[in-house]
């Protein structure tokens, strides 16, 4: 049961959690994008390992989407958008690195405490995948809360989504995984197009979400 298959799956999925931590403290946008690309690359590896070890060829489609779309196209496009908007020098950090890491560790602990008892009946790999997935989702949420810049919020959302794909792949034999990952990709593509088409930069002179709050219609 605890053979090489398990070890490799374990290492790759655990690697995603580590990269999620890396994402938390990247305060420069380009570095953030590169780290996200690594996150997506690891996801592609996890999924293709799962496809290979569980003999589920349809998962290669999901892996392909993760590799081509999330690890290559999205970072490149966001890179260019950042250049266009002229925000490449933005440095943002709401919580300090230490506090951020501490909260992150607490969230991972929470994920373990929540998931371990309820998955007692499942096989070890499924349990681990779910714990890792929930950790990544919570870390992504943390990032969305602590960041104020629209681009980094989107990166937070995308890392969260990678966690969800991990959960869906980990749930053995779950149907519609491919469809769900395609639907998610459409969502992400639209968010990215949204930043660009809505020209948040151009319209608001900043992609800082805090500044956008000033446009609330309710203020007299």
């Amino acid at each position: 049961m605890y053979g090489l298959v398990f070890d490799i799956a374990h290492m790759l999925a655990g690697g995603m959690v580590v990269v999620s931590f890396l994402l938390l403290y990247q305060d420069r946008l380009y570095a953030l994008l590169n780290t996200y690309a690594l996150h997506a690359l690891l996801l592609a590896l996890v999924v293709s390992w799962q496809a290979y070890s569980h003999d589920a060829p349809h998962l290669y489609v999901t892996a392909g989407i993760a590799l081509i779309f999330k690890a290559i196209i999205i970072p490149v496009v966001l890179h260019r958008i950042i250049q266009r908007l002229g925000i490449q020098r933005t440095i943002e950090q709401v919580l300090g690195v230490g506090l951020n890491m501490l909260v992150g560790v607490l969230l991972v602990a929470l994920a373990i405490i929540v998931m371990l008892p309820v998955t007692a009946a499942s096989e070890a790999l499924v349990r681990e995948d779910l714990i890792f997935a929930l950790s990544i989702v919570l870390l992504g949420l943390l990032m969305m809360i602590t960041r104020r810049n629209a681009v980094s919020q989107v990166v937070g959302f995308m890392s969260m989504e990678n966690g969800l794909v991990l959960a869906a792949v980990g749930a053995s034999g779950m149907p519609l995984v491919v469809e769900i990952s395609i639907a998610f990709s459409v969502l992400i593509a639209l968010i990215v197009i949204g930043i660009f088409l809505f020209r948040i930069r151009e319209r608001f002179d900043t992609v800082d979400v805090q500044a956008m709050d000033a446009f609330r219609g309710e203020r007299p």
Partner: protein, 480 residues
Amino acid sequence: MNGSTVVAALLLIPLSAAVLLVLLPGYRVAARLNVVATLLTLLSAITLFHVRPPANLYLLVDDFNIYLIVLNTWVGFTTSVFSASYIGHELATGRLTPVYLRFYHAMYQGLMFAMNLALLANNIGLLWVAIELATLTTVMMVGIYRTHEALEAAWKYFILGSVGIALALFGTILVYLAAQPVVGQGLPAMAWHILLPQASAFDPALLNLAFVFLLLGYGTKVGLAPLHAWLPDAHAEGPTPISAVLSGLLLNVALYAVLRFKMLMSANPAAVAPGPLMVSMGLVSLVFAAFMLYQRRDIKRLFAYSSIEHMGIITFAFGMGGPLANFAGLLHMTLHSLTKSAIFFAVGHVAQIKGTQKISDIRGLTVTHPALGWGLLLGVVAIAGLPPMGIFVSEFLLVTSTFAREPLLALPLVLGLLLALGALLLRVQGLAFGEPIGSTAPGQASYLPLFAHLGLVLIAGIWLPGPLVSWFTHVAALLG
């Protein structure tokens, strides 16, 4: 015609209309085609009462969703009629360009497709994909005016909605994991009609966790406080027909998803009861929104908060459970859809005529525009829960059944209802009566959808047809 063709029609008519509307250049033709397509969808929905297809692994028609499908296509149809008279003015004032209008119509049909798919879905994964699609189409329509406020509203809706559906997906995966040891791997472990009879054997701990995620996730889309932040902005900044379908339909569809999962939870005796969670979220939304109603300066935001309030009431009713409260919840869901979309029809024309959404700049409507003014007044009387309109009946049922079972819970419920009543009457008094200000030009308006809805709500308040009552009683029993 057999059942499967009807179901196919429900999905394919909006889909092919969406494609056609992208290609059609003229807006008059497009608006008419939009009406025709929604009418055809409505007709096919009605034939579902006569021929019902057997459930397959993807789609399902049962007693619960059939009436929501008919309600959905009906409001979709009337809103498209309203939209046809509304949208010409937006083009004339230059708020929308012809290209955006094409996009608008296509998205409208896309939304209809997504909502029908969500209601018909027999597969929890398909349900999730459909609700995600519905979110996307509405996000685009909320941002369609491309003003600061509209873009901010769309962005906020986008981010909050995405987080919501992400949480819902995690919940969906957990439900699959709970079902898989009992039902076996593959599609059957995601189909409602297979899950429900076997739900008692599922792992209760997994189900509990899943329900928390699902309630938070889909609850964001329902607009339950404290996850409602997107809702007022999205209603206020988008085109009014979209506010009407958002309030009248999309919130219902999200609530439908929550209710389906609640049925699973109730079928498992060992799982935690979903009721108290829903009751507390419902009450918080109700009381919170009722207080917020007093501070609104924008007429569309006012009614958006009223939607939060009513979704709170409905969630509370289903959380209480039992035949009577469920009956009240189902009735309230239907009547709120009809009333709130009618109000938005009136508000849309009022805002166009006056050129503003500010409550303080609109006064004396019954003098200058009697049909619109009285229509709006009637709508507000209905939504505030005054007799003889139908919402009075459902709220009365809910309050009395709550007093009989949990008198302590009835206190905040009644408090919230009265607060909201006060706020709405206070505001509508200024809107409808007094010295008219602002433009008094006669507006191009279609009164048919407005008064058709109000008429239905009035009839429901005076006399509920027997078949409808037995139908609701039956579904209320199903909901447990």
